[in-house]
């Protein structure tokens, strides 16, 4: 009798201790019972329409949990990209002929159309591995390596993050560091900044391969407010240095009065551009700061997920992002999740619609639409359901729209009457399947 009683006291004590220690003490017990692999797979279709960029992406994230809360995750991504993308040249009332980025041939652009290079074709593989484990009772460490490979682009990176719990695990503070090195080796070589577009076969405007280094630092706090409410606040700092140009982006050289491209004659017998264009020139460093806040609120089964990010950088770009997900359960095992996202950014200081003939070159210039001033809106809906086996599926469809304006004070002559900014409407469709083994 006495032995039995002692046992039950011990059991009660163990239970109480586990309760006091919270998640960290209970999770390893679960992990010991069922260590195994968990697979998150997704197939994504992204299409900007009008012959612009299309991406089919296949993703696998495999997680394995070990005893003592240690876990390993492996990520594999395969992207197949095709389509046309705006090169930065201005549209005008006549047709245009441009040399392709490779320098190997030319392409034509009809009158009044924003020039797009239609030879964009790439395959991208990305691999990442991450390891997470507790360090002592209150600390946790996450470390990983990432890499991606494209025909003309290679990325390798490493990241580490240390976090510590406070206040009965109601507060978690984390500090993270990530470093990356990216190499670019565009066909024909990386263009020399501001070098002119030349005739087919003339690669004297190109240099060899180029590279950039990126360092990211992140400080975060996660706080439990009450039983149904959780918030996170992150500050991130990012520093990039090296070759930050997009090797495929150019600017038109235009007439100071009409704003139309300056005509050019290819060398005798040569094929080449019929107007003057120059490759873009960005600064060789960029520093970004961002503040990110996220709140998750549980309302009798429904979950509101709201986040906001402010970003500012030394290129003169400020941006605001508001992101809202609302998870609405339907029955026991399925849910709908509407998604809304608002984004707005100001243009980079060196964003230029075109370069003006007879005016000294600015220090830097880029006509990349992504450095311009625009607003974007995403509207989406997801439906997810759990199968009898416990595996989960979900499907989502979203619409992403970008609308921008070229800075009015930069427009010259005929440019004032034309649509100079390439607006975009993209569709995002995704199917996900999650299963365990």
């Amino acid at each position: 009798m006495a032995t039995k009683k002692r046992k039950s006291v011990a059991a009660s004590l163990a239970t109480a201790t586990c309760s006091l220690l919270g998640n960290a003490a209970t999770e390893p017990v679960q992990a010991q019972e069922e260590p195994g692999w968990d697979f998150n797979t997704a197939l994504l279709y992204y299409d900007e329409g009008d012959g612009r960029v299309q991406d089919i992406s296949f993703n696998v994230l495999a997680n394995r949990t070990f005893v003592d809360d240690r876990s390993l995750s492996l990520t594999f991504v395969f992207d197949s990209l095709t389509g046309a993308t705006p090169v930065g040249a201005v549209p005008f009332s006549g047709p245009q002929t441009l040399t392709r980025a490779s320098g190997g041939s030319t392409y034509n652009v009809p009158a009044n159309e924003i020039p797009l290079d239609d030879t964009f074709l790439d395959t991208r593989y990305a691999l990442a591995v991450n390891w997470q484990q507790p360090l002592g009772r209150l600390y946790s460490l996450n470390a990983g390596l990432s890499s991606s490979f494209e025909y003309d682009y290679t990325h390798i990176g490493a990241n580490v993050e240390l976090s510590r719990d406070f206040n009965q695990r109601n507060t978690t503070v984390s500090l993270g560091l990530a470093i990356a090195n990216d190499d670019m080796d565009p066909e024909g070589g990386a263009p020399i900044p501001f070098a002119p577009m030349l005739d087919v076969g003339d690669l004297s405007n190109k240099a060899g391969d180029e590279s950039k280094d990126v360092v990211d630092v992140k400080i975060g706090v996660t706080q439990v407010i009450n039983r149904n409410f959780l918030v996170q606040l992150n500050y991130s700092f990012s520093d990039s240095s090296g070759y930050l140009n997009d090797p495929y982006k150019i600017l038109s050289l235009v007439d100071a009065v009409t704003g139309d491209p300056i005509p050019r004659t290819p060398a005798p017998g040569a094929e080449g551009p019929l107007h003057e264009y120059a490759f873009e020139h960005r600064p060789d460093s960029r520093t970004k700061h961002s503040l990110y806040g996220q709140g998750k609120y549980y309302m009798s089964g429904k979950v509101l997920d709201l986040s906001y990010r402010f970003m500012t950088d030394d290129w003169g770009i400020d941006s605001h992002t508001l992101d809202l997900h609302f998870r609405w359960p339907v029955g026991e095992s399925s849910y709908f999740e509407p998604h809304l996202r608002f984004y707005t950014q100001s243009h980079a200081d060196f964003y230029r619609v075109s370069l003006v003939d007879g005016v000294p070159l600015p220090t830097y210039a880029s006509a990349d639409y992504r450095l311009g001033e625009f607003d974007a809106l995403t509207v989406g809906l997801k439906y997810g359901w759990k199968l009898a086996s416990g595996n989960e599926m979900s499907a989502r469809i979203e619409f992403y729209n970008q609308e921008g304006d070229a800075p009015r004070n930069q427009l010259i002559g005929n440019q004032l009457t034309r649509e100079m900014y390439p607006d975009m409407d993209a569709i995002i469709a995704q199917f996900s399947y999650r299963f365990g083994k």
Binding site: N170, T171, K218, Q223, I225
Partner: protein
């Protein structure tokens, strides 16, 4: 220098915030809702990664939730 001042200011802010956090939160046995999968900060890491990649490729901002993303010569 400006970056350093900003970092210091933000660390101060963090410390004050932490001090205030003492009065918030739940007892360990009140974590039933917070433990639910849909209450995790990132519910679907694959979808979050895909979105980060799309917006990184098409906008001048990145990161915030996690690291800055990247690793592509995106057009």
């Amino acid at each position: 220098m400006r970056g350093l001042a900003k970092t210091l200011f933000l660390s101060q802010l963090l410390i004050f915030a932490l001090a205030g956090c003492n009065s918030m939160g739940v007892e360990p046995w009140e974590r039933d809702v917070l433990a639910k999968e849909e209450m995790q900060l990132t519910v679907d890491p694959v979808e979050a990664g895909l979105d980060d990649h799309i917006y990184f490729s098409k906008e001048a901002s990145s990161g915030g939730r996690g690291f800055g993303g990247g690793g592509c010569g995106c057009n």
